[in-house]
């Protein structure tokens, strides 16, 4: 492993805030158009979805946090919306049971099982927060007592926002009123918060938050770097370490890419698994806490064993370009999606007789092209993997038992990005990036609409 080297920049001021260059461009365009947009006019709507990307559940599964990427740069920032899932359940169940549509909702003419609703009614008012543009993911760290911390990487100005959830609202700008933009203290762009030390690498991609370990890990798509964020409960989050050189470069592009990240829970501390875009390898990491850990002595990443993706595609693909990773609840199975060849690969990560995870492939399934993310849940009749297929607008439901087969293919909308599963609600939630909606899939084995979109949250944007 090579840890990131110091990178000095000539000017460190003036680049704070969200996506300054695009905003300048936007302002310039607005000037050219002959109008002057006020701050209020370019402020994103608090209770609307706009290019939703990441999503994650609150620890009690009552709320869904959705990151709005503002990919059109229509507004001056992205945001995090908070969706009330109890209300979602209520509206959806009413539709399922009696076909009664709630106010601001209409049945889908093409899919009788689907109800479409304006999102405003589900998004908590006064609970949202504004972040940088081009958010890529949301990871939630359970901080106990119904509170949580959100870790949100943004690509626009490579940074990571950390936002505290007190059970009712998000807060990343103490003292500010209303729908506030995260302040500089909640925007992590420098390692150890030291502009002279090192910058956060470009293209933050996937994020994983470890509640018990009180840290988060962010991968970087074009550098292969892995960033460790120290996130002590009650304390300030900070970038603790950046590991580079974990993966080999793509022989064609020369780029290294770290993609999916997840952790296998173990007694001694979770083992982090990171997949790559540029190599058919999964690298494990742990987080080391120096004995004299303190404010100035943060934790660091410790590389562990690695293994290759030899299960699928040695003939034609080599299993490069991996994307999402997810573990079963027990940690005994790791699910990994790969784009070349398109496959869901299942690994036995149970502890072997030596006490070390086996990390051996046990099954694979052919899936859609351009799969993005996945989640794993047992809705009541065995574990299922739900894979989002960005290009096809579908969710593949894979039954990993037996031959590991595609059980269902669900049309969810345009540009499905992140897929999140809630055991409490027996629902799967999918952010549809290209149409500004969140699709709600009923996955209860006893539902007549099992594996169907029962609710579409958001006013579908025209292509």
């Amino acid at each position: 492993m090579i840890h990131v080297k110091l990178r000095f920049r000539a000017t460190v001021s003036g680049v704070r805030g969200s996506k300054p260059v695009p905003m300048r461009t936007l302002c310039a365009l607005l000037l050219v158009a002959g109008c002057t947009a006020s701050a209020e006019e370019v402020r994103p709507p608090e209770r609307e979805l706009f290019f939703p990307t990441g999503a994650a559940l609150s620890p009690d599964e009552r709320f869904l946090f959705v990151s709005n990427a503002n990919s059109e740069l229509r507004y001056d920032s992205g945001s995090i919306s908070v969706i009330d899932l109890d209300l979602v359940d209520q509206v959806a169940q009413q539709w399922i049971d009696s076909k009664v549509a709630a106010p601001d909702c209409t049945g889908d003419l093409d899919h009788k099982e689907t109800l479409g609703c304006i999102e405003k009614q589900f998004i908590l008012e006064g609970a949202s927060a504004r972040i940088g543009n081009f958010a890529t993911d949301v990871a939630v760290q359970d901080t106990g007592n119904g509170t949580a911390r959100l870790i949100v990487p943004t690509r626009g100005d490579p940074s990571v926002a950390w936002i505290d959830w007190n059970g009712q609202k998000l807060d990343c700008n103490p003292g500010a009123q209303g729908f506030a933009l995260c302040d500089e203290g909640h925007r992590l762009a420098y390692v150890h918060d030291d502009p002279d030390l090192a910058l956060l690498p470009d293209e933050p991609f996937d994020a994983f938050a470890d509640s018990s370990g009180q840290f988060a890990v962010v991968t970087h798509l074009t550098t292969g770097a892995v960033t460790l964020i120290n996130s002590p409960i009650g304390g300030k989050a900070s970038i603790a370490d950046v590991a580079t050189g974990l993966f080999s470069a793509d022989p064609l592009t020369g780029l290294r890419g770290a993609t999916g990240v997840a952790a296998r829970p173990t007694a001694g501390g979770d083992i982090i698994y990171v997949a790559a875009r540029s190599e058919d390898r999964v690298q494990t990491l742990t987080v080391g806490h120096p004995a004299n850990e303190g404010p100035g002595i943060p934790p660091y990443l410790v590389p562990g064993n690695y293994f290759f993706l030899n299960l699928v595609g040695n003939n034609a693909g080599g299993s490069v370009d991996s994307r999402g990773i997810s573990f079963s609840a027990s940690g005994d199975r790791m699910y990994l999606i790969n784009r070349r060849p398109p496959s869901l690969q299942i690994f036995d990560t149970s502890l072997g007789p030596t006490g070390f995870p086996r990390n051996t492939g046990i099954a694979a399934t052919d899936i859609c092209r351009q799969a993005s993310t996945l989640t794993v849940m047992d809705p009541g009749d065995g574990e299922r993997a739900y894979v989002s297929c960005f290009q096809d607008g579908e969710i593949y439901v894979v039954d990993p038992r037996g031959v590991s087969s595609v059980e269902d293919i669900i049309l969810v909308g345009r540009g499905p990005y992140t897929v999140v599963a809630s055991l409490a609600h027996k629902k799967v939630y999918v952010t549809n990036f290209l149409e500004d909606t969140v699709a709600v899939i009923d996955v209860s084995p006893t539902s007549p609409y099992r594996n169907r979109v029962v609710l579409r949250i958001g006013d579908t944007r025209a292509p």
Binding site: D241, D366, R450
Partner: protein
């Protein structure tokens, strides 16, 4: 920016060569299954000639052998008559595509397999108005297709709509040839129970009763026959009359996998397609096969189920004997499979015919063999293919019996199936996952089928050539894209090890017996022979034949052997080149030849006597095709580099903690037992590489090199703002070699003990006094000199050694003094480079011991530590592809312990003083008569042949000849691992009296090895599996097609970024089983 690119692209297109690489037209989309029908001219029973679908038997006859190229056989009654010729019939394959829910149609001629040459199977277009070759829409998420009994309909099971689709073959084909006249006719057929209630369960597999019908009969109005359909969630295999969709029979399973036959179709299932599903416990049938044996008429249905409640033996395979006429169940028999993973499940099954096992005549000889067996191959989710013998009492066969135990077994009946768990079944090979057939590496089997391969007429291939297949063979597809061939009954090769000399070389067990991956390396029996000087005499043995060139373009041949010399790596400044003959080496044996002359050869070489070769490579299957083996004194336990992941990274990272209990290496991922580390092994800290600057350290840390350190290339990551301040406190740690002894071993923690400097020439029996130590220290120093002993003027060792016990090193045997020569000191200047003087009262009268490492303050090791795990006082034996083989597991407390149930060949280290071998033990296996095993490794006295320098007496001048061939008795250390057996000779050296290599010294049990001394060799011609020469991306099914053709269905979806590899959305291959190089490809 984009516009610029566009212009550039347009410019490139405009200026490029007119010759373009054609893009492949992709006609298939996620194929998952294939079936076959016969369509063409038929004289019906009423004498009319028509063109129609007809029984499969019609095309089978037409595809039979031909006396001449134009002498095409026809079914009785289908001969041309004057004025009434009967047009030929063709095969049609119906390729089920799960993506669009369609069936693609392809055609090929009715002709013998031998006339296929590639390009014979052509896709047809069901919709010529749409670009590409289009299929026929049949249903939602179809999972299986089968031709009905009389060959007139294709029946499709749909998982998406929980029903069946029935495709009329006649209309389907007519609509292809006359699209304006006909449209394909697909009828949806709901599956109903006996009461007429619709069953809406999701099917997972379907098989149809064997083809029948009468050639000449016209097609009926509905599909005909009984289809068995597996419904996992309903725990049911339903026998469905495809004419009506009514369940008329079947088999249900309870929670333990026990089967019950259905007297009728009185069943109910959860509604999985649009209704509610309440999961119920029970076995989930997932895989089916149905075969009727042509010789005995036995009809069997095999059912493989998903994992059920973890049991010691899993009820996941059930055999159903069927009425051979009606194909209704007569009885069910569970086949208990060893539950190797606690969740065993079966995902694909294949039934063999009843086979007369054995025979090597080159003809299928089922009738004349007494050992009659019928097998079921079952792809299990433990990564293996299980085998059950269902002739007689059903039982699982152990396919992993170690060949060492079968060398003298010649009972074909017994060799055909070793019952799992039977006391008479010999032990498995070390490292076997279970009783099933293992593919190579991480390959995961996806499907299996069994093929009967008749001999090829006038076959000029030599018997034993891998591609010459005669008998019964299975093909197993794997998710990695490979298709493996398995010997079921090879009627073209020996059935056991021939009793004749070199029998085990020519016909090793893995090539002889059933249920073994087929080997792809030809001419295994080749010997080191040359033509005799007398042309009429047989070849003579030679001693200078290294064996065939393994890297030849034509591929490797012959048996396992080493290739090239055994390399020897000697650490610098430990022994002069002239004296390396005193170091341990791999045994050489005497090769005797009248042609090349006698000479010593490595026991692993091609020219070693055949008996030795057989013994050294006892299990061909356990040898990888090519592998570099290394034996390194105190070598690394892990070899992984950037491109390998076998036994862990050679250089690892962990944290170090120092507290009142000492120093500990801690890793949350708990890799230490997995690495095979044992107490008294060595942890070599590597710190950081100063040449990388601070890049090797976490952010905020610097790679600090202590100014007094004389150890090259090792810094230490320390907090940038603390390094200078800690320089003094950490000095001792930073200037030493940082080599620690491992104390307690746990899966996540190693206790590190500081390590005293010990004299490497300390006798294995222990030292006796300080004077002896000092003398041996001088001897060690003299070994560095190239001078002959009589001329050696090397000064004495300036360091002081004393004979003391060292509790921090591996305890010595009770028969020794228990003491080692340890370097003692009063100050650092008394110690060697990279060591420091550390006070210790045991070192009296000196003040302390010279230490290779010390326990530092915690602040010195706060950063993650780079380190290497090394074997302590032993050779680490590692294969480049098999890694470090060991038997260390974690006990319930997480302590690393030796597995008491480990295979005796699960060994990867050789100490210099192992226990003695047991002369009463079996020389091939090491097993004693009481069933226990002699120590492994063990010490033995062997003959060692070598050339010794021939000096003029009384001088060190070489005489004529300058060397003599000598065979002497030598101490040997014999190691048996799962792949090979070898003997290391001369673990110690008596020393020379006058000249190099005269062996006239008087030292007793004094070793010369130094850490890092390594012997390495390339073993070649290990097992290489025979693979079909196809390149699927994700093969999901292998199907037996007409004339025993092998059809591999590749569901894989591959978006290529390579110029040479096209994108696919799945492919279908037809491979001729009698000539596997002939391949037809559809995509």
């Amino acid at each position: 920016m984009k516009l610029r690119y566009l212009v550039l692209v347009l410019a490139l297109v405009a200026c490029s060569d007119a010759t373009q690489t054609g893009t492949s037209q992709l006609n298939l989309d996620r194929p998952v299954d294939v079936s076959f029908a016969c369509y063409g001219g038929l004289r019906t029973d009423d004498g009319m000639v028509t063109t129609t679908a007809q029984p499969i038997a019609s095309c089978n006859i037409r595809s039979g052998p031909r006396a001449t190229i134009n002498d095409k056989p026809v079914p009785p009654g289908q001969e041309d008559r004057p004025g009434q010729p009967v047009p030929s019939a063709s095969w049609y394959s119906f390729i089920l595509q799960s993506g669009p829910g369609t069936v693609g149609v392809a055609r090929f001629e009715t002709k013998p397999s031998s006339l296929f040459a590639g390009g014979d199977v052509q896709m047809l277009d069901a919709d010529p108005l749409t670009p590409g070759k289009n299929g026929i829409s049949v249903g939602e998420d179809p999972i299986a297709i089968a031709t009905d009994k009389v060959g007139c309909y294709e029946v499709i099971a749909n998982a998406g709509s929980c029903d069946l689709s029935v495709l009329d073959v006649n209309i389907a084909i007519e609509s292809i040839y006359s699209p304006t006249d006909r449209e394909p006719s697909v009828n949806r057929l709901e599956v109903k129970n006996a009461a007429g209630e619709v069953i809406r369960a999701r099917p997972a597999a379907m098989v149809m009763e064997p083809a029948g019908g009468t050639i000449g009969s016209v097609c009926p109005a509905q599909a005909t026959g009984l289809a068995y359909i597996a419904y996992p969630s309903c725990h049911l295999v339903a026998g469905v009359d495809v004419a009506t969709g009514t369940i008329v029979t079947g088999v249900t399973f309870d929670v333990n996998g026990a089967a019950t036959m259905l007297a009728d179709g009185n069943v109910s299932c959860p509604d999985e397609c649009g209704g509610t599903t309440t999961p119920t416990p029970g076995a989930r049938p997932m895989a089916l096969d149905l075969e009727i044996d042509p010789r005995t008429g036995r009809a069997l249905l095999a059912i493989g189920s998903d994992n059920v409640t973890p049991l010691s033996s899993a009820n996941v395979l059930t055999v159903v004997d069927l009425d051979p006429t009606l194909f209704r169940p007569l009885s069910t028999t569970p086949v208990l499979l060893e539950n190797t993973n606690g969740r065993l499940g079966v995902t694909s099954v294949a039934i063999s015919p009843v086979i007369g096992m054995g025979g090597s005549s080159g003809m299928i000889d089922d009738e004349i063999q007494t050992a009659q067996h019928q097998f079921i191959y079952a792809v299990a989710n433990d990564g293996t293919v299980r085998v059950a013998d269902v002739e007689g009492a059903a039982r699982e066969c152990d396919t992993q019996v170690d060949p060492r135990y079968l060398h003298e077994v010649r009972d074909v009946d017994r060799l055909s199936c070793f019952k799992v768990g039977d006391a008479a079944t010999p032990p498995r090979r070390a490292g076997a996952k279970g009783p099933g057939i293992e593919l190579i590496g991480d390959a995961i089997a996806t499907s299996v089928d069994i093929f009967r391969v008749e001999p090829v007429e006038n076959d000029n291939r030599l018997p034993g050539v891998p591609q010459r297949m005669i008998g019964y063979f299975a093909v197993v597809t794997a998710a990695n894209g490979q298709s493996y061939v398995v010997n079921v009954d090879n009627d073209d090769f020996d059935d056991f090890v021939p009793a004749a000399e070199a029998g085990g070389i020519r016909a090793p067990i893995p090539l002889d017996i059933a249920h073994q991956l087929r080997d792809a390396v030809p001419d295994r029996g080749q010997l080191a022979q040359a033509p005799s000087d007398n042309p009429m005499a047989p070849p003579v043995y030679v001693c200078d034949d290294p064996g065939p060139e393994p890297d030849a373009q034509t591929g490797n041949t012959a048996g396992p052997r080493i290739y090239g010399n055994i390399s020897r790596t000697v650490p610098t400044a430990t022994i002069a080149p002239e004296k390396v003959g005193g170091l341990p080496s791999i045994r050489q044996v005497l090769c005797q030849s009248t042609k090349s002359g006698d000479r010593p050869v490595s026991e692993l070489s091609f020219s070693a006597p055949v008996g030795v070769r057989e013994a050294e490579f006892p299990d061909l299957r356990a040898l990888r095709s090519d592998e570099v083996w290394s034996l390194t004194w105190e070598g690394s336990l892990s070899l992984d580099k950037a491109d390998t992941a076998i036994d862990g990274p050679s250089v690892r990272y962990s944290q170090t903690f120092v507290d009142g209990s000492g120093m500990r290496l801690v890793d949350q991922s708990r890799p230490f037992c997995d690495a095979g580390v044992e107490p008294y092994d060595i942890v070599q800290m590597h710190g950081c590489d100063p040449s990388l600057g601070d890049a090797g350290c976490p952010v905020g840390y610097t790679c600090y090199v202590h100014p007094q350190s004389q150890v090259q290339g090792i810094g230490s990551c320390m907090l940038a703002n603390e390094a200078e301040r800690l320089a003094t406190a950490c000095r001792e740690y930073l200037v030493t070699q940082r080599r620690f002894t491992v104390g307690r071993t746990k899966s996540g923690e190693l206790q590190l003990l500081p390590r005293k400097v010990a004299l490497r020439t300390t006798p294995l029996d222990g030292c006796t006094d300080d004077a002896q130590c000092q003398s041996l220290a001088d001897y060690a120093l003299h070994n560095v000199s190239s001078a002959n002993p009589k001329d050696d003027t090397t000064t004495s060792d300036s360091h002081t050694y004393q004979c003391h016990a060292d509790p921090d090193r591996r305890p010595m045997a009770a028969t020794t003094t228990g003491k080692r020569c340890l370097m003692v000191c009063d100050a650092d200047s008394d110690c060697s480079t990279g060591t420091v003087c550390h006070p210790n009262p045991d070192a009296a009268p000196r003040m302390g011991y010279c230490m290779e490492s010390v326990i530092p303050p915690q602040a010195c090791v706060n950063a993650p530590q780079r380190y290497e795990l090394r074997a302590g006082e032993a050779f680490a034996v590692l294969g480049s592809r098999q890694g470090y083989i060991h038997s260390i597991i974690a006990d319930t407390g997480g302590n690393c312990v030796k597995d008491p149930n480990a295979n005796p060949y699960q060994v990867g280290r050789i100490p210099l003083d192992p226990p003695a071998c047991d002369p009463t033990a079996d020389p091939r296996t090491g097993r004693r008569t009481d069933g226990t095993f002699e120590p492994n490794p063990c010490k033995v006295t062997v003959d060692e042949s070598e050339y010794q320098l021939n000096y003029v007496p009384g001088t060190c001048t070489l005489n004529t000849p300058d060397e003599n061939l000598v065979t002497r008795q030598a101490d040997g250390l014999r190691l048996r691992n799962r792949a090979l057996e070898l003997t290391l000779v001369d673990p110690t050296y008596p020393g020379d009296a006058q000249c190099h290599g005269d062996r006239m010294g008087t030292l007793s049990n004094v070793p010369l090895v130094a850490p890092g001394f390594q012997l390495a060799f390339r073993q070649t011609a290990g097992f290489a599996p025979l693979l079909l020469g196809i390149q699927p991306s994700f093969p999901v099914k292998v199907v037996r097609g007409p004339q025993e053709s092998i059809w591999v269905v590749d569901e894989g979806d591959y978006l290529s970024t390579s110029i040479s590899t096209p994108s696919t959305r799945g492919k279908v291959y037809r491979v001729e089983s009698r000539s596997i190089g002939v391949i037809n490809l559809l995509e």
